[in-house]
């Protein structure tokens, strides 16, 4: 997911870090709010707040709480309970259409999060409203809290599901920055329809002892493992 967020903030989203409330900005909603550390890092990198503040993440008194918080500059919406981000983004996309604005609304969801029925309520409605300014990105890493997505509730065929719901779908390698950029440049994938980008990813990508390991959904690396992970990532930057 870090690759998708990095490219979004570097190349795709129209933003003005000096004015987080700029009316024409694209709206980005992180629905899988537990992955907020990635978003905080991107926001700091592009200048919404200082990179040094990242050190306070999750600490007593910090505004960088461990599920994404709208108290942080650049964050549109607090999430944490899954299944809330897409309906909210749909409302923003509808607001743009009804009031003549040109901004787009992005929602980034996990694949496991698609178990929540509230998402499917929004997935049904968005094509009905022809919200081609709504972009749903699915971080499809195939792992959820208690096991693989295939074992818990198999979502496949995921692309065909969205196509049947009348979304325009593209499916990419979610670690390929050029593929992410190209998809972003092609938005909306079809005028008059909402866009769905399925980003196939590998949980813990780039760190051999973390890749596809459920345990690393929960664990924090100690100093030694952190050094090893960083060394691997710096050796093979994506």
């Amino acid at each position: 997911m870090a690759d998708v967020v990095a490219v979004l903030y570097a190349d795709i989203l129209r933003l003005l870090p000096s004015n987080p409330a700029w009316p024409d900005r694209d709206r980005f909603v992180l629905s899988k709010g537990h992955c907020c550390s990635v978003l905080y890092a991107a926001l700091a990198e592009v200048g919404f707040f200082s990179v040094s503040e990242l050190e306070t993440y999750g600490q007593d008194g910090s505004r960088l709480m461990a599920h994404v918080s709208h108290k942080v500059p650049g964050v549109e919406f607090s999430t944490g309970s899954l299944g809330h981000g897409l309906p909210f983004a749909l409302g923003k996309a509808l607001a743009a259409k009804r009031s003549g604005h040109t901004f787009r609304a992005f929602a980034l969801l996990s694949d496991g999060e698609l178990d929540e029925g509230s998402n499917w309520e929004a997935i049904l409605l968005a094509p009905q409203l022809q919200l081609d300014n709504l972009v749903l990105i699915i971080d499809a890493n195939g792992i959820q809290s208690l096991g693989s997505v295939a074992e818990v509730i198999n979502l496949e065929p995921l692309r065909a599901k969205f196509e049947a719901f009348r979304w325009e779908v593209r499916e990419i390698d979610g670690h390929n920055h050029e593929a992410i950029r190209l998809a972003g440049a092609a938005l909306p994938f079809q005028p008059g329809r909402p866009s769905c980008l399925i980003a196939r990813t590998i949980k813990g990508k780039g760190v051999d002892f973390m890749e596809n390991q459920l345990a690393w959904h929960y664990r924090s690396p100690n100093a030694d493992l952190l050094a090893k992970a960083l060394a691997q990532l710096e050796q093979n930057p994506s």
Partner: protein, 303 residues
């Protein structure tokens, strides 16, 4: 009450371009005038209340004051977490409007009885809970909301409620509907105000001083005026079409000095099993003018 609501909302929408109505595929023969006059500020979100509340928050975050409309527990309990997180936590101007407070949809059964909502909504941050008694109070609530957009819950009756009195503009204060005995207050919220007025009339007909009758269309958060207004009474009797737990009586009992006796009529917390009209079920639960009269006449050591 629902007709008064939609008429007033339509009138407000003519002067307030922020007002947006989202319905959950309910409101047949009620909401059409608004939809016809303001198609760009109307949406039928379908039978999908979680999405309705979430998208309402999204619309509200872009400057609209959104009214979500459905019946009974659908726009409230079905999407409670969206109201808690998306609307209240973000302090966004969305008014959840439920038609059919209490037992108004009596014969449709327990699924349609909205009897826990006051208790639950009193716990939500930033939220105003408005519970009008008649069409006039409903109009006043919409006027206030239009001028004061905020996270809010509008608890409406259904149809055919009588015009009970000439209500003042909505404020946080309890409203004196009928002055009377300075020691005994009969305080109602919602359409059971009619029962309070009937009980007062029974007392007057019996040649006794009728209690002072109050309406509380503004239910939560309680204002200092609530305590200030009621603390001169010796006995405060509450009427509510809601279970006792977490309702009006518990609220006032926690606000008023212990020297004041607070009693009241409410619904039992166990689910109704009988089928019946609103009036039938009210009577079965003891929510009647006669029972209110018994409380007026009761002594301190009675129930």
């Amino acid at each position: 009450m629902r007709t008064a609501f939609i008429e007033e909302l339509t009138a407000q929408a003519r002067i307030n371009p922020a007002i947006f109505l989202v319905v959950g595929d309910l409101g047949y023969s009620v909401i059409e005038p608004f939809a016809a006059e303001f198609p760009d500020r109307f949406l039928n979100a379908g039978v999908a209340e979680q999405n309705m509340a979430g998208l309402a928050a999204g619309l509200a975050s872009e400057g609209f004051h959104v009214f979500t409309y459905s019946i009974a527990n659908f726009p409230t309990l079905r999407c409670l977490e969206q109201i808690r997180n998306d609307i209240c936590y973000h302090n966004l101007p969305v008014t959840s409007v439920a038609v059919g407070a209490g037992l108004a949809y009596g014969n449709l059964g327990y699924s349609h009885h909205a009897v826990q909502d006051i208790a639950i909504f009193r716990t939500l941050p930033n939220l105003r809970l408005l519970s009008p008694a008649d069409p006039g109070e409903a109009r006043g609530a919409v006027q206030w909301l239009s001028a004061n957009p905020c996270p809010s819950y509008l608890r409406l009756g259904k149809a055919g409620e009588k015009h009970l009195y000439s209500s003042p503009p909505l404020s946080p204060n309890p409203v004196v509907v009928q002055p009377g005995n300075p020691d005994v207050a009969l305080v109602a919220t919602g359409s059971v105000l009619s029962i309070a007025l009937d009980a007062a009339a029974l007392e007057a007909a019996a040649g006794r001083p009728a209690p002072t009758v109050f309406s509380m269309p503004w239910l939560h958060p309680a204002s200092p005026a609530t305590t200030a207004t009621l603390r001169s009474f010796k006995h405060v009797i509450c009427l509510e079409e809601h279970i006792r737990e977490g309702g009006l009586r518990e609220m006032l009992a926690s606000l008023l000095p212990r020297s004041i006796r607070v009693s009241g009529l409410a619904l039992p917390s166990n689910a109704t099993v009988a089928v019946g009209s609103q009036n039938f079920l009210r009577a079965a639960a003891g929510l009647t003018a006669t029972h209110a009269q018994q409380l007026i006449l009761s002594r301190d050591d009675d129930a």
